[in-house]
């Protein structure tokens, strides 16, 4: 049973929750502004492919990151155009983006690189590989704290640190800046924002663009952070789990981090439990562990764990009266 709290499990918890965290924070910006985004998955996948492809072609991780963010922002703008300017159905637009991303990445991957939808294997220097933080060698021998620092905190991709630093930053942006005030306001009562002399459309577009940037980083992390290239359908539902985490966290930044860590932990435990017998229970099917985030979210939505109140104007395009 000690694997439940072993350093290895916790280390992979961080690894697995990083993309969830980035995507959930992306969703937070978008949904807090009143634009529901079920297309986190698609944007991540598009970004993962673009990052893998660009890093392989230009032999640079940074080119990969730029391409990943670029493609994700582009998809975000498509979603923004559909749901803000054209006042379309936000769920339909998001689902469409997921389909397009799933299809196009496989198709382009095969026709450009002919490796069955993969992008070429990347070398270490073409990736955002693991960073060893200063002093981790030296401190490793200190009992308890040493290993925690050198194995758990040190040794992750640069993008993972970006993800966790983005949490307090997002909190600060939302609650301490003009941009955040307007973003939250526009998600609750766009008419009030309009009459205060602020453009509802521009405020929402900015939120959607931020969402695109964060999804881009999430996708980049998947293909050139923890892997050495893009693999077909590599997001494998992470965008949806991130969405579940966002709801589970009631659209609050710190809660989002905790929810993503919880869901990441469940995934890590799920991987480690494969083939193991638990005392009394026996073998727990992996599928059950994989389904846990969704089950927890459904329990939350059913009202058993407090109440999840979404932004009031969420999912609705702003139309002046009449």
């Amino acid at each position: 049973m000690e694997f439940l709290i072993s350093l290895q499990t916790l280390d992979s918890t961080v690894r697995l929750s990083t993309p969830l965290l980035l995507a959930a924070l992306a969703g937070l910006y978008s949904e807090r502004s009143g634009v529901f985004d079920i297309g986190l998955e698609g944007k991540m996948l598009g970004a993962a492919f673009a990052a893998g492809a660009a890093a392989a072609v230009w032999h640079s991780a940074w080119a990969g990151l730029a391409a990943g963010i670029g493609v994700s922002v582009l998809l975000a703008l498509v979603h923004g155009f559909a749901s803000i300017t054209a006042k379309g159905n936000q769920i339909v637009s998001g689902v469409a983006i997921n389909f397009v991303a799933a299809g196009l990445t496989a198709l382009l991957g095969q026709s450009w690189f002919s490796q069955g939808g993969r992008t070429p294997q990347l070398k270490m220097e073409e990736r955002f590989g693991e960073i060893t933080l200063p002093g981790s060698q030296m401190l490793a021998d200190i009992p308890l704290l040493g290993p925690v620092y050198s194995e758990l905190i040190s040794g992750h991709s640069l993008l993972a640190y970006v993800a966790f630093l983005a949490v307090p930053f997002t909190w600060w942006v939302l609650f301490r800046t003009r941009f955040g005030l307007r973003l939250r306001a526009v998600g609750e009562n766009p008419a009030a924002v309009d009459t205060a002399g602020i453009s509802v459309v521009w405020a929402r577009y900015r939120a959607v663009i931020v969402c695109g940037i964060l999804c881009g980083i999430a996708g980049t992390y998947l293909s050139i952070g923890v892997s050495a290239g893009f693999v077909k359908d590599m997001t494998a539902g992470k965008g949806f789990i991130a969405l579940a985490a966002l709801i589970f966290a009631k659209w609050k930044p710190i809660n989002v981090m905790l929810a993503c860590l919880l869901f990441g932990y469940l995934e890590a435990v799920g991987i480690r439990m494969q083939g193991r017998e638990l005392p009394l229970i026996g073998e727990v099917p992996v599928q059950f562990i994989q389904a846990l985030p969704y089950i927890l979210t459904v329990i939350l939505l059913a009202g058993f764990i407090g109440k999840a109140i979404p932004p009031k104007a969420g999912g609705v395009a702003y139309v002046k009266e009449r």
Partner: protein, 518 residues
Amino acid sequence: MSGAPAIELVGINKSFGPVRANHDIQMSVAPGTIHGIIGENGAGKSTLMSILYGFYQADSGEIRINGKTVKISDSQAAINLGIGMVHQHFMLIHNFSVLENIILGAEGGAILNRGVAAARKELERLEKEYSLEVDPDAIIEDLPVGLQQRIEILKALYRQADILILDEPTGVLTPAEADHLFRILRQLKDQGKTIILITHKLREIMAITDTVSVMRQGTMVATRKTSETNVEELAELMVGRSVLLHVDKKEATPGEVKLSVKNLTVKDSRGVTMLDNVSFDVRAGEIVGIAGVSGNGQTELLEAISGIRRARSGEVILDGKPISVTGGANPALLRERGLAHVPEDRHHTGLVLPFEERENAILGYHGRDEYSSGMFLDLDAIRADAEKKIEQYDIRPANSKLKTANFSGGNQQKIVLAREMERDPIVLLVGQPTRGVDVGAIEFIHRRIIEMRDAGKAILLVSVELDEIRSLSDRILVMFAGRIVGERGANATEGELGLLMAGVEDGAKDGARKKEPA
């Protein structure tokens, strides 16, 4: 003062599709005065003010502020010109603090800290100067509507508005709160602000304005000095013909008790008591009116009786047999037993707006044999029935296939009334029968309600319009904070009902409230 009008509107036109909301409007408002704009619902008052505030753009025409021709392309432009507006539906973010709401759009920098500190100081100054106290850190949804309105006024003052537009500001206020608002407005006027007050209540116009403009069907039909006109003239100008401000009715002849409510208590999902031990009877052939500021339990009362909301305790007896209001009451079954219900909010509970008129005309009764053959609907019977009602109730346009959303408020209300009244019910619950309905339809609806009474129905009427309650009811019950705080006859004065509505109960009358001179 240069003598130039603070606001001058010249030849304003605005259409929404085929509807001409504003037609060649001319208006001039002198600085430092209170100018009233009066007209029926849909006369174009709010549209005109929305144009002045940059919310809509006029199709043609000119706006001059302090003698200068200006272009107001959005609300920011209006704010920059010193125009502030208090909307009918408050433009507040319900889960933000007072301070956050006030600085929204005028934050004073990309990072809030400094702006917030400055705003707090400025707010304190404004509160003192105009005696408009509010707690800057309170959350909007925790505040009563009167205070929320105060925040809207502060919002405008914070943006240094010299011209303040108020759109139907007293609709949500008790008479006492309205008096307080008027004191604030007079004070603002004394400080040199120009105020435009939009309302459909003649009394308010007479009480506070210096000049008044009357709008009817999108045109400005007259402008008068308030001191040189009277209620009758304004009413006639508003409607275009002389109106009966009073409903003709015979003396009621109450029969036996048809609806009896005993110790009814309702709590909402948070456990807050919404209806507190309410008891009363309604007899056949009488109208019992429930007066009160909205949100004092009237909605819960109607919902509990009609079986939509579960009561915590108490009983309701319909025509001699009890209704299981504490659980298991079924609205459909109650309909079968002769309880008809015209809900307060026709858009939310009364109608399915995307449905065709004829579908709404049978909703709730669609399972009856007359509308179905076997498991299918009998479309011919439904159409014939709808057309009969359209004729009887003069519903326009007379097209039973039209989507309900395309009917005007008054005609939508008639669809609901026809559906509920033509069932020959024993008890009729009517909530806000004329909310958002034009004067012509109001007369019709009032007449129908009286006819139902004369036909021996027991009628429970809930309305926030005191005039309506007073002219229709045979007995008046006043609700405050979920309780019935007093009963009066049909001849009760507005003043005494107003005091009851404000929570001043019997015994603690006048003296307590009327300290400050008006």
